[in-house]
């Protein structure tokens, strides 16, 4: 009967390994954040704020031109129109610029949204410094209200040489889950809707 107890021991050890690996799956979540912070690939809204006084001390690099493109979209569950009023502009690294986005609430009630920025190419993200941005806070729009929202930013002169075009994109989310569900955020998917959400996934992976 020694085999039986040996089998029980093996069973217990291996079950422990399985539980440990289940935990490891969850441990990947914080590990991933740490990894993203070290490599700077995740666009952290807080980390990229610069105060206006700091901006002055940076010298403008007149020898370089950078094209910055602006885009934005709303995620399902947020019944807003949302777009950049200027599609692109050219600037020198170190120059501070302001660009406006426009949002209008199409719903018949006030809705709170949060914009999440992302930058392409990803390695440019830590060089795009925002002094002011509507994405720093939640935005509340009353029923039918439209509003212009500003982003004040500059491109750090330390931007690697190979990059001459940067795309700044915003995804606007409904912050309230109940309200998001109400506007189709996670409703039962029907074929046309699936098509819509498929497109969003593609955009997401690109951003």
């Amino acid at each position: 009967m020694t085999t039986v107890s040996a089998n029980q021991r093996t069973l217990r050890k291996l079950l422990f390994v399985a539980v440990l690996m289940f935990g490891f799956g969850y441990a990947l979540v914080p590990l991933y954040d740490v990894f993203c912070q070290i490599t700077g690939i995740r666009f952290d809204t807080q980390a990229n704020q610069v105060n206006s006084t700091g901006t002055q001390s940076i010298t403008v690099d007149k020898t370089r031109w950078i094209t910055v493109e602006f885009t934005g979209n709303t995620m399902s569950g947020l019944p807003w129109e949302f777009y950049a009023l200027k599609k692109k502009l050219r600037l020198h690294p170190g120059q501070t610029m302001v660009v406006n986005y426009f949002a209008r609430n199409r719903a018949a009630e006030a809705i709170t949204g949060q914009a999440v920025p992302s930058v392409t190419p990803p390695r440019a993200s830590k060089y795009l410094k925002k002094a002011e941005c509507f994405c720093f806070t939640k935005q509340v729009l009353a029923a039918g209200e439209g509003k212009e929202m500003a982003v004040q930013f500059m491109v750090d002169p330390a931007l690697p040489k190979g990059i001459d075009t940067i795309t700044l994109s915003y995804a606007f989310f409904n912050t309230d889950r109940v309200s998001a569900n109400k506007y189709g955020g996670s409703a039962v998917s029907e074929p046309p809707k699936q098509h819509g959400s498929h497109r969003q996934v593609t955009e997401n992976t690109n951003g």
Partner: protein, 519 residues
């Protein structure tokens, strides 16, 4: 251990429900997996019929996506994995001289979790909104927003996962604790070795998948935001966790196939396996490397350059131990007295087509090239060459190799060979043109395509019908072999070596009640 209850086992349905016998459970696994193969195969015909010509003919785009999703999940979790577990159940105890699996009652449970899990998976088709059309990879945020069918799939994956974990624990315990005296680790047959390593892969990878789908579930219903950018999560995180499971998973599918090739080729080449020790270490190396290459599935998400280089080099490194294995098989055949009975045909065919899939894998591992191949039919061609060409051909090879031992009858060689050639030709017709389609830019998971892709798609559809229809031969052959045929000898194949050939054909209900002595 050995009590004599040969005669008092229950008969009929309860025999199968309550059985703890490794041979019964192996048989159940095999029947289950081939049933699921039929279901998944029919879904592949829906996909190929829709792709017969451009435009939408037969199904709605949403339903097409449901078919690709379920086809993938069913073939991976319902067919290939259970089929190899079934082979392990039948063969491992007989190959190491053990009376049964180490944990027989748990064995019963790991099998009987499968039918409800598979039912749940197929039932998702009838949920409001249908099955999820998110692809077998279940990428967030599409999967966090999909309909109720997604919850069916999540719970089904939980059950399939528990079944796999219990099954792999059982296999490890059997191999480590139940070997006959004298069978040291380095004397174990290669099929046993590759299953030992596969079981460890399962044990480490499946819980991570369980974690990933649990996060999906809580994101969907319990207010967490692991993958929801609005709540501070990140959809790309899902891809990392999924592929941390997903890449070991592809070796879970293919390592037992390597074990099968390593059993069959020496038998019919009449030479011992070339480079046994290097085979063992190559298998272990592949298993280790499989855990550090996951992000090569997601080169296009915007990783830093350093990450892309690391995953590219690590992935290319896998070609080395895999090459060792392929060269060892070829060297085993070299100057052997080869004969080409049905199992040998399947094994050689498998090595050949798997190597083709391996080479396209190497092409895909090159990061800059992958940006072109990503999400095209080139990828579809690649993984069907590895999974059908490697795993599925190996499953058939193994069934033909051991079927006479299970049933006590020889099967019809002409039918087996016809089955092989039709499958091989049909399979290559289906998937070879998909390489060209992918290189020309045809995206995967889309029910419609541009006109210039029509010709290759028609060839592919014809090939898929040949492949599926050819499987009818297999079922006919197996039924015929169970009911009768030429009596099989104990050794079955001339020069077959191993403990399983020392027991009578058909293998009695209980074997090795007293352990054999291995020299």
């Amino acid at each position: 251990m050995s009590t004599d209850h040969h005669e008092d086992r229950p008969q009929g349905l309860t025999r199968w429900l309550f059985t703890t016998n490794h041979k019964d459970i192996g048989t159940l696994y095999l029947w289950f997996s081939f049933t699921m193969a039929v279901v998944g195969g029919i879904m592949s015909l829906v996909i190929r019929s829709e792709l017969w010509e451009p435009g939408l003919q037969i199904v709605e785009p949403g339903f097409f996506n449901q078919m690709t999703t379920l086809h993938g999940l069913i073939m991976v979790f319902g067919f290939v994995m259970p089929a190899f577990v079934g082979l392990a159940n039948w063969q491992l105890p007989m190959m190491i001289g053990a009376p049964d699996m180490a944990l027989p009652r748990m064995n019963n449970w790991s099998f009987w979790l499968l039918p409800p899990a598979a039912t749940l998976l197929v039932l998702s088709l009838f949920a409001p909104g249908g099955a999820p059309g998110v692809g077998w990879t279940l990428y967030a945020p599409l999967s966090t927003r999909a309909g109720m069918g997604m919850d069916f799939v999540i719970l089904s994956i939980h059950m399939l996962g528990i079944s796999s974990i219990l099954g792999s624990i059982n296999i490890i315990a059997t191999i480590l604790n139940m070997r006959a005296p004298g069978m040291i680790l380095m004397k174990m047959p290669m099929f046993v070795w590759s299953w030992l390593i596969t079981a460890f892969l399962l044990l480490a990878a499946i819980p991570v998948l369980a974690g990933a789908v649990t996060m999906l579930l809580t994101d969907r219903h319990f207010g967490t935001s692991f993958f929801d950018a609005a709540g501070g999560g990140d959809p790309v995180l899902f891809q990392h966790i999924f592929w941390f499971f997903g890449h070991p998973e592809v070796y879970i599918l293919v390592l037992p196939a390597f074990g099968v090739f390593s059993q069959i080729i020496p038998t019919f080449a009449r030479k011992p396996l070339f480079g046994y020790t290097s085979m063992v270490f190559a298998t272990a190396t592949i298993a280790f490397l499989s855990f550090i290459v996951w992000a090569h599935h997601m080169y296009t998400v915007g990783m830093p350059m350093g990450g892309e280089l690391f995953f590219m080099y690590a992935t290319m490194l896998i070609a080395v131990p895999t090459g060792v294995k392929v060269f060892n098989w070829v060297s085993t055949m070299w100057q052997g007295s080869m004969t080409f009975e049905t199992p040998m045909l399947w094994a050689i065919g498998g090595v050949f087509t798997f190597t083709m899939g391996g080479i396209t894998g190497l092409m895909l591992s090159v990061t800059p090239a992958d940006f072109q191949y990503h999400d095209t039919y080139f990828v579809v061609a690649h993984f069907h060459y590895t999974i059908i060409g490697g795993s599925v051909l190996a499953i058939f090879a193994a069934v033909y190799y051991w079927l006479p031992k299970w049933t006590g009858h020889m099967f019809s060689e002409p039918l087996g060979k016809t089955h092989f050639w039709l499958t091989l030709i049909g399979f290559n017709l289906t998937f070879f043109p998909q390489h060209f389609l992918g290189l020309a830019g045809m995206p995967r998971r889309i029910p419609d395509y541009a006109l210039q892709f029509t010709g290759f798609n028609e060839v592919s559809t014809v090939g898929s019908f040949i492949t599926i229809v050819a499987q009818l031969i297999f079922f006919y052959l197996v039924f015929k072999c169970i009911r009768g045929g030429k009596k099989a000898t104990d050794q079955v194949w001339e020069d077959a070596e191993g403990l399983e050939w020392a027991v009578p054909s058909p293998a009695p209900y209980h074997t090795f009640a007293t352990p054999p002595q291995v020299k």
